[in-house]
Amino acid sequence: MPALTLENIPALKREVRSLAEERDAVILAHNYQVPEIQQVADFVGDSLGLSRQAAATDSSVIAFCGVHFMAETASILSPDKLVLLPDLEAGCSLADSISADQLRDWKARHPGAVVVMYVNTTAEVKAETDYSGSPPSPAPTSSSSPPRPACCTRSSRRTRARASSPPTAPRSAAT
C-alpha cells in the first residue's frame, strides 16, 4: 500500500467517493477523525448523532469511520445493513473500562437498580443497560418512584483511583 502523502490525498478521496457510490455506501465520520476522512464523509458528528444517521440511512452499506463501539451501535440500529469499520483495532478506552460481566455482577448486588450508561459501551454492556445515551440527555426521574441506585460507566481515571480503595458500588455519574 503506498504511503499516504499530501500528493495522493485528492486521488484517494475521489476513489473513496467513487467506491461509496458503487457500493451504495454512506460514509459516517466521527468529528474526531482526521480532516481528509471528514471531507469524504456524507455525515460528520458525535457518536449518538451518527447512530441516528445510521438508523435513518437508506444505503445498504455503512462505512463507519470511528471506533468499534460506534460501528456496533450502527449495526444494532440498522441490523439489515452491512457495517464496515476500516480498522477493527480502533477502540475506545472508555468503552473498555467496564465489561458485561462486571455490570452483571453489580446488578446482582443491586437488584432493581436502574442502569444508565454513556453510549461509549460495547453491545454486550448495552444489552445489560436500561438507558444509553450521551451526557446532554438526562436520565428520566419520577417523583412517584423511590430512588434506586444507578450505575454509570466510570472513567479510566476513576477506575484507577478506586483500584487502591475498598470496593464500593459505582453510584455516581461520570463523564
Partner: protein, 41 residues
Amino acid sequence: MKMITLPKLRDALNDLEPRVQVDPGLAERARLPIDRMVAIG
C-alpha cells in the same frame, strides 16, 4: 481515532471488509436502552 485513514477506508469499501456484526439476539437487547434514551431526549 487517527487509526482510520483514507487507504483503509478505500480498501474497506473495495473489499466490503472488515465488517462489524452484532448477534441478532444481543442486538435486540442492546437496542432497547438506546431507543429509550432517544425517546426522551
